[in-house]
Amino acid sequence: MASSTPIRLPWRLLTRAVGAAHPLIPSTHYIRTQQPISFQRPAISRNYSEATPPPEVENATPPSQPPQTLTENTPVSEGPPGPPRLPRAVQAVYLRPLRRQAEYGVPSCDLQLRSYSVRNLEFFCDFALRAAYYLGLPASGPVPLPRITERWTVPRASFVYKKSQENFERRTVRRLIQIKDGNPETVELWLAFLQKHAYYGIGMKANVFEFAKVGVGKNMDTEMEKMKDIVGKTWDRVGVATTVGTKLTAEEIIERVNTQNFRAATHGNAPLSKLPGSISR
């Protein structure tokens, strides 16, 4: 039944079709079922139709030869001969994203995605879940969070005529993806990957939870005691790249902080960061 499924079908239809055939199989594990969904490869025909004149190379082959397909080149190892399936990883693209089971269920990262369009958001959530799976992170979601609706009512005219007004609105849709039992470094990697492949019109906000043993404050105190010598040396030359041995006075530091280049580096090139009195170097 599923063998006749064309390659272009979205995963929703596929899963529905398979789910009808195997009602006992949970919906998230279609890939691991014993009867995988097989995809028909597009048969690439080398035979040209009669309407187009065949080129010189094709003249050598007899016209009675059946259309040559890609399936002839691939040997069928076992089982009944049928159209070969796509690789599992490619099949998975058409199906719902795979998930890993969280062992302890301790949340390590909450990623909130926001957008004005549901379509883009759903797509990117799917992408994020797949990325999490292949990084070995157990992800849950996407949880649809309440929409944020902002409305503005303005008069239609540029001047007076308050009786005739117009309403505008902006709906922000949100989704939450939670990573559980994630290794902090892997979570960082996942977030960096998502940021690298950021999709247009989608904002991301991540709350990353870090866990430490009881007695964090005491540990930090002891660490501070240990680092006192190093930190003292560093703080003498804080934020200023000078050669070792030279010390800047407070006035010099203030002057340097107020230079235009420094302000641009720390606050960006916004108009407010450029002071009229600041020296440009």
Binding site: R151, V154, N167, F168, P271
Partner: protein
Amino acid sequence: MSMFRAKKLDLGSFVNVKVIRDHTKRKVFAENEPERQALRYIIRNLALPQRTRVQAQLQLAQMHCYTRPTQIRNRCIEGGKGRGVLRDFKMTRYNFRLNALAGKLPGVKKASW
């Protein structure tokens, strides 16, 4: 006040005398905010001697009016108008409507509910 104004135009939006003035006020306020806050702190600190506090009061009162946050007014980036400016878009209501109808504001649509 010309002494505060930037020698070169440092604005990218609609430019107008009032817009430049407001922009200058914002810059001057940002520059002098720590000083203002320090003086305010001295004035309100009951632990300090009365004389110091009165002096701080006088100093604060003598600061230039451009250093006051109350001088700042949001103005339209499209037309420089000072009234009916939507904070979310920094635009007057009519400019907002024009931009929204043109689809230049992401996510803003005509609402009907």
